[in-house]
Amino acid sequence: MLKKDSKKILEKSKSLGWVLEPDAKALMKLQGLDIPDFILTNSFEAADLFLKACDGPVVAKAVSKKILHKTEHNAVVTGIFSSDHLKIEMARLQKLDGCENILVEKMVKGLEIIIGAKNDFQFGPVIVFGIGGTSVEIYNDTAIRMAPIKPGDVFSMKESLKARQIITGYRGKAGVNMEILTHLMVNFSNLIMELENDIESVDLNPVICTKDRCVIADARIILNCNEGC
């Protein structure tokens, strides 16, 4: 059963047709999935306190109902270490079209993967998994399975990728923690089954994976508009 708070998020996003990043991530967190520490604010002072507490770089993003694809609008800034840098970028982001808030998050480093879902016309919900980032369409190294998926499916999806060695680790580099990744994907697929009637597609891209964690660094949910958005 979908949690009450999850339903509320979907309800309030309906008129927009898609779910804003902070809300989409809140939905993932309610499902028990890992998201980065964050602060949603318009105050530079609050953001600066967050940066100082982070002990490392942060990412700042504009939250706007008019910006669905943030990269194309220069609405994402990664690797912010200093207060000065944060101040300049916050001011710039706040001027972007429709910007309501700034999402400041602790930056996580690791392998970027994509975990997605699509409500397919013929087969219903399907799960997509592959190498992530902003060039996913170029590499198109992905595997697709019908949801709900089982742990064994995650293994076979990984095995079917050209880049499987990057995920398992090569040339002395640590790979992705498959146990955590499997847990994330199975859990995500269960959520998708619950959302079957509400969604058209979901991108968790990138999900940043290390040997200890798999963190959803960005999430986009496109709602099914046939039911009136």
């Binding site: 016309f121 087969f123 399907v126 697709i144 399975r145």
Partner: protein, 455 residues
Amino acid sequence: MDLKYLFKPSTMAVVGVSTSQDNHPANVIYNKNHLRYSVKTFPVNPKGGILNRETLYPSVGHIQEDIDMAVIAVRAEYVPKVVEQCIKKGVKGAVIVSGGFAEAGNLKLQQRLVDMAKEASFPFVGPNCLGIYAPDHVDTFFLPGERIISPDKGNVGFVSQSGGVLVDQMVKFAGQGIGISLAVSIGNKACIKETDMLDWFDQDLETKVIAFYIEGFEKGEGRKFIERAEHCSKPVVVFKAGKSKKGIEAVSSHTASLAGDYRVFSEIMKQYCVAEADSEYELTSFCEALSCYPKGIKGNVGIISLSGGHGVIAADACELYGISIPEIEKETMNTIMDKLSPEIRNIVSLANPLDLTGSSVDSDIVTSARHLSRDTNIDCILALLIPYSPGVSADIGAKLSQVARNEGKPMIAYVPNEDKYKIIIEGFELNNIPVASSVEGAVMMAKALMRCRPC
């Protein structure tokens, strides 16, 4: 819905038989069944009349006997009335050959048929289809018998959205000696869909492998198909059209169907071990291989050839399809070497693929197949038999079949498809060992077994 009477009718009415047009679909269907098949056939035309000294019945209701199935080949607008008469008469199902429904934009007319059929539990195939062909029993294809090459009775159940592809595929099956239990062209699939056919063939004792030509599923129908296929006790083969953009355009103007995203289709078939054939040739090979071996393999083949070249060609094809050719145990090699004819011991190569050379004789091939089958690294044997060398006898097919049956590992043979070598081919095929007519075809058969391995 009970489909028994529809697919295995004892009595059949053909509605729409014309007194003036000899080539009318209904006439072709009536004539061939009436003259050549065991099903008892009755001609119907609302206007009555006489055809070839036989009286036409004005409606199915006028036929005295019980009717199991009706073939309806009248103009689209008259079809609902004929269906109504069939239901009233107690006919147990229909093949609606007529076009002019969803594929021509007449969705409402088609929906009317669906509603009538649902209410009366009256199953029908079509509309806009060729219908059914069961060798030696019934044939509703409106193609004159002398124009088509029909496969013999066998164990492949074949379902196609396209009638043209179905007939063409049947010619290919016949050419490869593959027999069918039942072929069904489902056309617009308004009532009987792929899922219904999967259920039918799953319980049909005459069918061992179920093959589909699919252009697209309706909303959610793909998931239903997969849910059935997952629990099906027999291997399922699919061949998908509408993969390319151009193909998709062709599909939407062909049968009123939406072609879906091909990658989703293909990946899900793999996920549930439905063997997807990549071409019509593969479809033929897959059906032949899986009708002999329903179990599936991991894909570690041992290759026996009588010429180095054939071994290399097979190895290349294996690599292309992701089939491995593992090294065989030292012990296996030693055992084989000890038993080979002394004359060839110095010229053979016993590393996989094995080259027994053109100087080998039957016993060398049989010994190699036997011990290769016992090697734990190997789960399938490819026997590439070029029957040109003098040491190979006409009995080699039958002899190797015995080895395969004794050892219990799938064996696939390649023998050139020529009349001269028929006795070798039959030696295999009559013993349920599949024979390909090319080296690549033999590798495709191994691919079929690999795609259908238990998940």
